[in-house]
């Protein structure tokens, strides 16, 4: 029941999440309602199955990679803090925030952090570089059975050739950033959260 859900979220927690992620009070309570409705086991944490129950996510070719991004290394459960931290990457970048002097480092929804989120979708083993093999695997997820191995291989080779500047046949995060420097990442990796 909705009212009980919001009462499990304490004011102190809301304040901390607000500081960490930049979401407003009402956005946090609204997202908590959503978190609670996804949490079928009612144990305060989401498992991979809870995410897979969303049909629109289940049919997304990169659904599993996106779900994985919510879970820290080696963990099977994500609590509300972790959930919000990941969602915070998709907050739009407001102009006043660009000028803010933050003592806690870059905000979660900065351009760099958005790019890093996308980078991690490609980087399957989390070793901070995208190998040809990893790129192939992700491409295969996106196209299914509709493109041949050879064609996919040549696509991967061409992509790495374009991006790789230091000749190690892998794409590092800085090379990734360089390739996408003209793309309006702030707009394309943002979701308009209503107040």
């Amino acid at each position: 029941m909705g009212s009980r859900a919001s009462s499990l979220l304490r004011e102190e927690d809301i304040e901390e999440i607000k500081k960490e992620t930049g979401f407003s009070h009402s956005q946090i309570t609204r997202l908590y309602s959503r978190f609670h409705s996804l949490d079928k086991g009612e144990n305060g944490a989401l498992s991979r199955e809870d995410f897979q129950r969303i049909p629109e996510l289940a049919i997304n070719p990169l659904g599993d990679r996106i779900i994985n991004a919510f879970f820290p290394e080696g963990e099977d459960q994500v609590n509300f803090r972790g959930f919000m931290r990941t969602l915070a990457h998709f907050r739009p970048v407001e102009d006043n925030e660009k000028n803010k002097d933050l003592t806690s480092g870059e905000p979660l929804n900065s351009r760099t952090n958005k790019l890093h989120f996308a980078f991690q979708l490609y980087d399957l083993d989390r070793d901070d570089k995208i190998s040809r093999d990893e790129l192939l695997q992700v491409l295969r997820m996106m196209v299914g059975v509709n493109i041949s191995d050879e064609q996919l291989g040549s696509i991967a080779d061409r992509t790495i050739q374009e991006a790789d500047t230091n000749g190690d046949m892998c794409i590092s995060f800085s090379e990734f950033t360089k390739v996408l420097e003209k793309v309006d990442v702030e707009q394309k990796m943002s979701i308009r959260f209503l107040h």
Binding site: G2, R30, P55, A118, N146, Q151, M189
Partner: protein, 440 residues
């Protein structure tokens, strides 16, 4: 000491006796007799109007709940969106930024998706003084709490016992009278009596729920030899439709009280009850339905093609079985007004008894029923297309969202084939551009 109590004792007995008599007389005169004759004093409408005034009073104390995110309703195709994402200039086959499209769509669906919210009760914009619809409505003043308290007293102290009495009366009469009608020989007299008996008992049940129903376009009411299809929100849908017309019900044979009711009903007129084992056999089901429909002396069949209860904000995929039979389909749209009481049955959360208790302790069940003009399968249209056409008409009339998703997703997983469709579409974007390059 005993000398004190004697006069009080008999006085109390007398008072109790009088109040019971008054109570039952009022019940009979104002509720049961009108139900028998199908007339109405208009008490329920008056009640509904006063409730609306009451809600207006409490309007200012509430929290407006809107969507969480702004979704792009002007949906571009996958191809268009991916092209938009790209860096522009010469079109490469694949761009690393393509991932942004899937990524954003994925996270958007995590925050708010079209399907999972259809299987829980609709959230109201303002509070209707029922505890169960209180989600995050903060700052409830003492005045509002007092109103709520009075509401609880009225609903549980007065309305609930009244409704339960009526429900028992309605169901009891249904069982007894249909069994009696069953003793008559088959013929016009029997059909006439059966219709009257069914209508009367359903009308009593309507009053047992304080259901205030507005029927629109009654000239399109289903006729014999056809199938009536409607969107499904709760078991009450059956009672709502059956109190305005006579239908042949379709369903699985149950045990217990339901079973008793089913067996009694089928004595008076032919309903279609399936054994559990028969339900799986689609051909058997189709045959029995076709046979019934072919016999024009039998009543129209009432079917809910969604197969499960949806929360009345949308219409989900219609199962094609009833649309393959090839007879006239009479679509009906049912839309409940959630302000007075939510009729949706969340069967994963509440059992039937719990649900009925909720129903009978709400303010009222207010709904609108639209009878749509009959539809038949057109030339060159297959069952699925026909089902979708009917579904779109019902959704449009009832003001509900028309979804392609299967109501079975309430319990089951989505089919792989939908993911494969997405992959196919994206592959076209990649391969398509390489074809252009080879030409240039």
């Amino acid at each position: 000491m005993e000398s004190y109590l004697f006069p009080f004792d008999s006085l109390i007995c007398m008072l109790l006796g009088i109040s019971f008599t008054v109570w039952f007389t009022l019940l009979l005169v104002f509720i049961i007799v009108p139900a028998i004759f199908g007339v109405s004093f208009g008490i329920r409408r008056l009640y509904m109007e006063s409730l609306v005034k009451l809600f207006e009073v409490s309007e200012c104390f509430v929290n407006r709940f809107n969507q969480i995110i702004e979704k792009n309703w002007f949906k571009m195709s996958l191809e268009q969106e991916v092209q938009e994402m790209r860096r522009g200039g010469a079109e490469p086959e694949f761009d690393m930024s393509d991932i942004f499209y899937f990524c954003r769509r994925g996270v958007e669906s995590i925050v708010d998706d079209e399907v999972t919210k259809r299987f829980t009760a609709e959230e109201l914009e303002s509070w209707n003084l029922l505890t169960r619809s209180n989600y995050n409505f903060h700052h409830i003043s003492t005045r509002l709490t007092a109103l709520w308290g009075v509401g609880v007293l009225i609903r549980y102290g007065f309305l609930l016992p009244l409704r339960v009495t009526l429900a028992f009366t309605g169901v009891g009469l249904l069982v007894v009278l249909t069994s009696i009608v069953g003793l008559f020989p088959n013929g016009r007299m029997k059909n006439y009596l059966s219709d009257k008996v069914h209508l009367m008992c359903y009308r009593i049940c309507i009053r047992a729920l304080t259901a205030i129903i507005t029927y629109h376009d009654s000239e399109n009411k289903p006729k014999n030899g056809g199938i009536c299809v409607a969107n499904h929100t709760s078991p009450i849908d059956v009672i709502i439709l059956a109190s305005d017309g006579c239908y042949a019900m379709v369903g699985q044979v149950h045990g217990g009280l339901m079973g008793v009711i089913q067996r009694a009903m089928v004595k008076a007129c032919p309903h279609i009850w399936f054994e559990r084992s028969e339900v799986k056999d689609r051909h058997l089901v189709a045959k029995r339905l076709s046979d019934h429909v072919a016999d024009t002396s039998k009543l129209p069949i009432l079917i809910f093609p969604e197969g499960t209860c949806i929360n009345n904000t949308s219409v989900m995929m219609f199962k094609k079985g009833s649309f393959e039979i090839g007879c006239t389909v009479y679509p009906v749209a049912i839309k409940y007004d959630p302000r007075f009481g939510d009729a949706f049955w969340n069967s994963s959360k509440f059992g039937m008894v719990n649900y009925l208790l909720h129903m009978m302790s709400s303010w009222a069940i207010v709904c609108s029923v639209w009878y749509l003009p009959p539809m038949s399968r057109m030339e060159g249209e297959d069952a699925v297309q026909f089902a979708n056409r009917v579904k779109a008409a019902i959704a449009r009339k009832g003001g509900l969202a028309d979804l392609l998703w299967d109501g079975g997703l309430k319990r089951g997983k989505v089919k792989e084939v939908f993911k494969e469709e997405q992959q196919k579409l994206y592959s076209k974007v990649l391969v398509g551009s390489s074809e252009d390059r080879s030409h240039s």
